[in-house]
C-alpha cells in the first residue's frame, strides 16, 4: 500500500471521525478535516494532499465546484461520497473529470480498495506527467541546440563538434542551461 496524505470532509462529525480512524489504521495520513466545503477548498490549496474524500451533502450547491477546482488546478484527486439517488446526476464527473463517486452507505473493504486504487493511479499518472515534461524539455533543448549549432557553424566557421563544445562551455561557465544559451544564440542570429 502506497502512503498518502488525505483530507476528509464529511457533513457530520461522526462520519469524519470514523473515516479518519479507518484511514489511519490502513497507514494513510489524514492531514486535515473540514466541515465546510470552502474551508475544505482552502485547506486543499494550502496542504495539497494526495486525495480529498468529500461528502456530497456537505454543500450540495458548492461541493461539485470545489471538486472540479481540485482536479482542474491539480490540487489533489477526489472521491465524492453520495447517496444512490444523487449518484446518477454525478456520472458526468467520472468521465469528464476523473472524479470517483462512491455510494453510501460505505462498505469498509470496498471503500479502502477504492482509495488504494485512486492513490496508486495518481502516483502513476504523476510519474508519467513528469516523464512527459522531461521529454518535452529534452526535445525543446535538442531543437534549440541544433539550430544554435547551425548558426555558429555558419557564422563562425566551426565544425559541429566545436559548435557544440562552445555552447556546452558557455552553459557550464555561466551556470545556465544549454537550452537557454542556445535560445540566446538563436535570438541573436535571428534578429
Amino acid at each position: 500500500m502506497e502512503p498518502a496524505r488525505i483530507l476528509v470532509a464529511m457533513s457530520n462529525e461522526n462520519s469524519t471521525k470514523k473515516l479518519k480512524v479507518v484511514l489511519n489504521a490502513m497507514g494513510y495520513q489524514v492531514v486535515e478535516q473540514a466541515n465546510n466545503a470552502n474551508d475544505a477548498l482552502r485547506k486543499l490549496v494550502n496542504l495539497r494532499p494526495d486525495l480529498a474524500v468529500m461528502d456530497y451533502n456537505l454543500s450540495p450547491q458548492n461541493i461539485i465546484e470545489v471538486a472540479k477546482i481540485a482536479i482542474e488546478d491539480k490540487l489533489c484527486d477526489v472521491i465524492l461520497i453520495a447517496s444512490s439517488e444523487q449518484r446518477g446526476s454525478l456520472e458526468y464527473l467520472k468521465s469528464k473529470y476523473d472524479i470517483v463517486v462512491v455510494e453510501k452507505p460505505l462498505h469498509k473493504e470496498i471503500f479502502l480498495n477504492t482509495v488504494e486504487l485512486v492513490i496508486k493511479n495518481r502516483k502513476k499518472v504523476l510519474a508519467l506527467e513528469k516523464e512527459i515534461e522531461d521529454l518535452k524539455d529534452t526535445i525543446e533543448t535538442r531543437k534549440e541546440v541544433e539550430q544554435a549549432k547551425g548558426h555558429l557553424m555558419k557564422e563562425l566557421n566551426l565544425t559541429e563538434e566545436e559548435a557544440f563544445r562552445m555552447i556546452q562551455k558557455q552553459s557550464m561557465n555561466r551556470g545556465v542551461k544549454m537550452k537557454e544559451i542556445a535560445k540566446a544564440i538563436n535570438l541573436t542570429y535571428n534578429l
Binding site: 477548498l41 485547506k43 486543499l44
Partner: protein, 450 residues
Amino acid sequence: MKGDNIMAKYNKEDILKIVKEQDVKFIRLQFTDIFGMLKNVAITAEQLEKALDNKCMFDGSSIEGFVRIEESDMYLRPDPDTFVIFPWRPQAGKVARLICDVYNPDGTPFEGDPRYVLKRALKKANDMGYDIFNVGPECEFFLFLTDNDGKPTTVTHDNAGYFDLGPVDLGENARRDMCLVLEDMGFEIEASHHEVAPGQHEIDFKYGDALTTADSIMTFKLVVKTIAQRNGLHATFMPKPIYGINGSGMHTNASLFKGGKNAFFDENDPLQLSKEAYWFVGGLLKNMKSIAAITNPVVNSYKRLVPGYEAPVYLAWSARNRSPLIRIPAARGLATRVELRCPDPACNPYLEIAAVLAAGLDGIENKIDPPNSTDKNIFDMSEEERLKEGIEALPGSLKEAIDVMKKSEFARQVLGEHIFEKYIKAKDEEWDNYRTKVSEWELEQYLTKY
C-alpha cells in the same frame, strides 16, 4: 503557451491562427458598462471571424445604463491587441477574450461606451500636443473567507485562526497565484504585498498608456476575483468593508509625455517640476469636487474618505507628505508623476482616468496655478486654521458629490450628455435607496432607547 499571451500587436489572421492552434473553444467579447461592471457576449470559435469583421451584434437594452429598447442594436468591435487566453480551467475548454468598443448600427461610436469617453479625452490630450498619458494604478483589495455555500463573509484569514496551517497564510498563496496568472497574461507586476489591514492586499502593475491601463484594471479585477474564488476566498474591491480598519484605495499615478519626454519634468524648478505639472495639479484641485462621484462612485466610498486611515479628506497637495489628496512622488526624469490618492477601486477605470486627464488638461489649458503645497499635517489643524489656509474638503457623501456634479459643466463635457444623465439618475436612485433603508446602527442606537 506563455509566449502567445505576452501583450503583442495582433491582427485578425494571427488571432484566428492562435485560436485554431490552441484549440480555443470560446471567446468572450468584453466591454464595460457605465458603472464599471465587466460585461461580455460569449461566442464560439466558429463565430470568431464574423466578430473580428465587426459584425457581432448584441441587444444594448439588456445592459443597465446603455439604451432604451427602441435603440437597442449595438455592434461590438474587438480590439485585436487585447486578445488573450485565460490560463485557468483548460479542461473545460480554453476561453479567450477580446475587449471591444461599442458602436451604433450607423457606424458611429456609441456615446454610452466608457471606453469611448476615455478615447475622447485622450484625443484632446493629443490635440494639445501630448503623445501619451501614462497611468500607473495601485490597487488594494480585501480577501475574505467564503462560507459553506460559497458566499462571502467579512472574516479574514488572519482572524479565523488558520495559523495552524503553517507560516504561509492563505492570502499570501492566493496573491502569489494571482501574480503568476497576471504575468501569464502579459502583466508586468511591480509589487505585491500584504497591506495594513488584516486580509488586505495590494498588487501594483507597471504603468502604461491610459487606454491599455484602463483595460488592464478591468482584467486585473477579473483575475483577482477568479483566482480568489479558486482558492476558497472572496476578493472584494469594496472601498470600506469594515469600519475601524483601513479601506481599499486605487491610487492613480499619472504623467503626460511629449515627444518621448516627460512633460512634468523641469530640472530647473526647485521641485524639478514643470509649469505643466503645477497646472495639472491646479486643474485637478479645481475640478476634484465635480468628479468625486466618478473617482469615488458608491455610498460606501465616502466611509473610506475619513481621517485616521491614510485616506485623503482635504483638497491639498504636497511633494513631502505621504497622505494628501495629491502627492508628488520623489522620482524625477522620465518617472516624474502626480499621484491622486482618493479614487477607490469601485470606480469605472475608463471614466476615472478620463476625468483625471480632463481635469489636468483643464489646468494646463487655463494655466491654473495650484495653491501652495501643504506640508503640514492637515489633520492636526483646527477648523479655523484650515479655512484660513483655504483648504476645502472632499464631498462627505455620495449625495454631496452628486449634487456638485449635477451643476458641473466640466463633468458634463467629460462624460458626454448620455453618460452624464444616466449616471446621475442612477446615483440619485442609489442614494435614495440607501437613505430610506433602516440601518443596523439606527436600530442599535434607537430601538431600546426610544
